[in-house]
Symmetry: C2
């Protein structure tokens, strides 16, 4: 089961299932579209899905290094470029980081909520909101290519313990 799009992951959710589901989804999408999910690309996607927290490119690099690969930055950035281009991951501009996309292949007009405290990110794709953005663009006679909607704050769990640590 994919990480429920539209809600923060429950405390004890089966994360291995998230990862498996994401990889299966990627395999299916690549098969359908004749794309090559090479070993590196697959591994980078897998590492990004290790958690629901956006990963920096150099974090990924270090994890790969820990496995003996020792790739250089361009290798990782190329894999990320591929994953971004085909909607398998999102870039979080406000953090220079990358997070798995919960709905690969369904266009990329997502809104992403990121917790300041635990860093968990959740994506939404609110059609009403997207239409509103498009309408604003139309009023400006602006032609949208890409949108970035990132909301930072506290997730439910962290808001609950806001006054602790």
């Amino acid at each position: 089961m994919n990480p429920q799009p539209g809600s923060f992951p429950a405390a004890g959710h089966d994360h291995h299932a998230c990862v498996r589901s994401a990889l299966r989804g990627a395999e299916r999408l690549c098969a359908e579209q004749g794309l090559r999910l090479t070993a590196i690309r697959r591994r980078v996607l897998e590492l990004i899905w290790q958690s629901h927290r956006p990963s920096g490119a150099y974090e990924i690099l270090e994890q790969l290094a820990g496995e003996g690969h020792r790739p250089s930055p361009p290798t990782v950035y190329r894999a990320l470029e591929f994953l971004l281009a085909h909607g398998l991951v999102h870039r979080i501009s406000s953090r220079n980081a990358f997070v798995g996309c919960s709905r690969p292949g369904q266009g990329h007009m997502a809104q992403i909520f990121i917790c300041d405290r635990c860093s968990v990110a959740v994506e939404l794709a609110d059609g009403t909101l997207n239409r509103r953005i498009r309408r604003n663009a139309d009023d400006l006679h602006f032609h949208i290519r890409e949108q970035t909607v990132e909301i930072a704050g506290l997730c439910p769990a962290c808001a609950g313990r806001a006054n602790e640590g």
Copy 2:
């Protein structure tokens, strides 16, 4: 007159007036709130307002260097930090750059449209859209601290000559 919030600047608009207006606004806001608009802060704001294109921190640095100041990165970043904290500029995460805020002091729930071709940025503050975001956050039980809404594409003028150069 401030750059019309909510529309792309007209071809022959009086840009000196934009700059003057932005600086006057900043002076007023700082006076009201007992903030110190020091020489550097003022100069950085002025440089950012030189155009409606977001400026990188190191661009600003170079311009200051060209005037004999030769400041170091932290100096510029501190000025930017001040200007951001008091709503005088926006950070454009998707470009690592900064642009003047057209409505200082009115909260910072803005949407920014940026042209891929000429880089001009225009800000909007659509209450309906902001309420929609807030509503999505409420549904998630997420507490918003800050939002980033950046839309990239082609401004009216550039869309017009899209098939030329």
